[in-house]
Amino acid sequence: MGKINLRNVAKRFGEVAVIPDINLDIEDGEFVVFVGPSGCGKSTLLRLIAGLEDVSDGVIQIDGVNATDLPPAKRGLAMVFQSYALYPHMSVRKNISFPLKMAGLDQAEIDRKVEGAAKVLNLTNYLDRRPGQLSGGQRQRVAIGRAIVREPKAFLFDEPLSNLDAALRVNMRIEISELHQSLKTTMIYVTHDQVEAMTMADKIVVLNAGRIEQVGSPLELYRSPANTFVAGFIGSPKMNLIDGAEAQKHGAATIGVRPEHIDLSTTGGLWQGTVGLSEHLGSDTFLRVTVEGVGMLTVRASGEVDVHHGDTVWLTPHAGKLHRFGADGKAIG
């Protein structure tokens, strides 16, 4: 249940190949996150899997069955839209019942399932309200409830948290992860926020201009990015990427080191630089340090650090945490 395979899937809009050629395997029960910058094709890919768009080429298999020509309703998938797409003229109860009504279940069965979903999502008190009377987080839950109730082979999430404020986003992230733990159903989740990707995924698919840059677990992507794009995308703040003479010293076209993997010292080290802007978060301090011949580096220092604008500091990358990339952007060694 919930195994999805994509073989040579392509999508063209007129002359433009938004997705040139994608091969991907998603195992049953995995939480897969499609992540990438705006316009990279992640939502398009999700919609191809859902059946809301037709593929231009290639095959989509769901549980071994060729689903490429099946309409969305027949694929056994459920989708949670970015805007939730709740039916505004129906109560919460009717919203959640709708897919069951379309499937032809009898009313008693429908009521049972709706009550069940409502209990899981804490919606029991809101069943008779209309979407217009609910808060953003509640509407989110109704959208999820409508998806759960269908007992689909996989859940598809299209940037579901983008419309929520920061605090709510953190809570909903946890709720969705817990949902995954309890249901153990495959979930495909699209986001541009790499924090969501890192915290929720079993497997991350990094997309760029319609191509897969890398597929792997969060830590794999963090520790061993396959190219400069992934290196610069995963991790916040971004990895420092240095090219030119300094990179050549290490036998690469570009070298990279994460801000959290640099030691800061006021006495000595590999690179000498001047402190520019600093951001004091209390738990961490982020400093922008300009190093002669290297460039501007972001450095993370733990806790509060007594360093000020204009000070001279020395930076030393941790041993073994220096990433090397060739001229083509791919990782070396």
Partner: protein, 276 residues
């Protein structure tokens, strides 16, 4: 434009605005006032206002005439009938153009609107003859057809703009929830489109009720609605001023009331989207 202005300027503006508004509205007001006067009072010179004789009998008499209720009913049937028929034809068309747009959709819409720019007199002659030959002349059904076709471009256009405002994602959600085309239209699209359909209906009933070309050229006595009646009897030999005023007041009252509710629809429907 909510600026704190000097109280004197506000008063001046208010007076000016009200004077202008009352001036514009005065003819309607004067007609209504005249309708409540006796005939003698209505033609008195100098015109009587406070000193006039007031009566309700004009309304009673006009209504009791054997033909006025018929004209009124004709107006009702023709305006509502042509609008409903137009909706029946236009709703599927507007649905298709809004949700399954093709390359030619915008051109098609423009073509439909352009048919409204055809001078009516150019098509009047054949229609007049065809209506005579087919027995549609001076029938309500004939007028329903003519007015429906005259307003069809506006009905399609308005519905199209309302349908486009329905978020596509909600229809996709319905599709994912297993709704086929028919279920999608029945359970999701139509309920969400009802306000738009109602607005379109409102404006077009108004336009059909007030129409004063086809209703005059394609009728004589049996199917004539109020517009034809008032047009023919305006030089009052049959009706006198007070009664003419009463007849006119009753003819425009329904639309004045509906018009109050339809301002937004009017802007949307008749400016073809140029003004929001």
């Amino acid at each position: 434009m909510a600026r704190a202005q000097s109280p004197r300027r506000r008063l001046l503006m208010t007076l000016a605005a009200w004077s202008v508004a009352l001036l514009i509205f005065f003819p309607v007001l004067w007609m209504v006032i005249t309708s409540f006067k006796t005939e003698a009072s209505a033609v008195a010179s100098p015109p009587e206002f406070l000193s006039a004789d007031w009566t309700l009998e004009n309304y009673a008499e006009v209504w009791a005439r054997s033909d006025y209720p018929r004209f009124f009913w004709n107006s009702v049937v023709i305006s509502i009938g042509s609008t409903l028929l137009g909706l029946a034809v236009a709703i599927p068309a507007a649905w298709a153009m809004a949700f399954v747009p093709a390359k030619r959709t915008k051109d098609l819409l423009m073509w439909m609107l352009s048919t409204k720019m055809m001078p009516a007199v150019a098509v009047m002659i054949p229609l007049y003859l065809v209506f005579q030959r087919t027995g549609l002349f001076d029938t309500k059904i004939g007028l329903v057809l003519a007015l429906m076709l005259m307003n069809l471009p506006i009905i399609v256009w308005m519905l199209y703009t309302y349908f486009r405002e329905i978020p596509g994602e909600i229809l996709e959600a319905a599709r994912m929830d297993g709704a086929g085309l028919w279920n999608e239209i029945l359970h999701v699209l139509t309920p969400m489109a009802i306000p738009g359909i109602a607005s379109t209906m409102l404006l077009n009933v108004i336009l059909a009720w007030n129409e004063a070309f086809w209703t005059i050229t394609l009728t004589t006595t049996k199917a004539a609605p109020l517009s034809a009646f008032i047009a023919s009897f305006s030089a009052p030999q049959g009706l006198f001023y007070a009664k003419l005023s009463a007849a006119s007041a009753m003819a425009i009252a329904p639309i004045l009331i509906l018009g109050w509710f339809s301002q937004k629809q009017l802007v949307r429907g008749l400016t073809f989207g140029a003004v929001k």
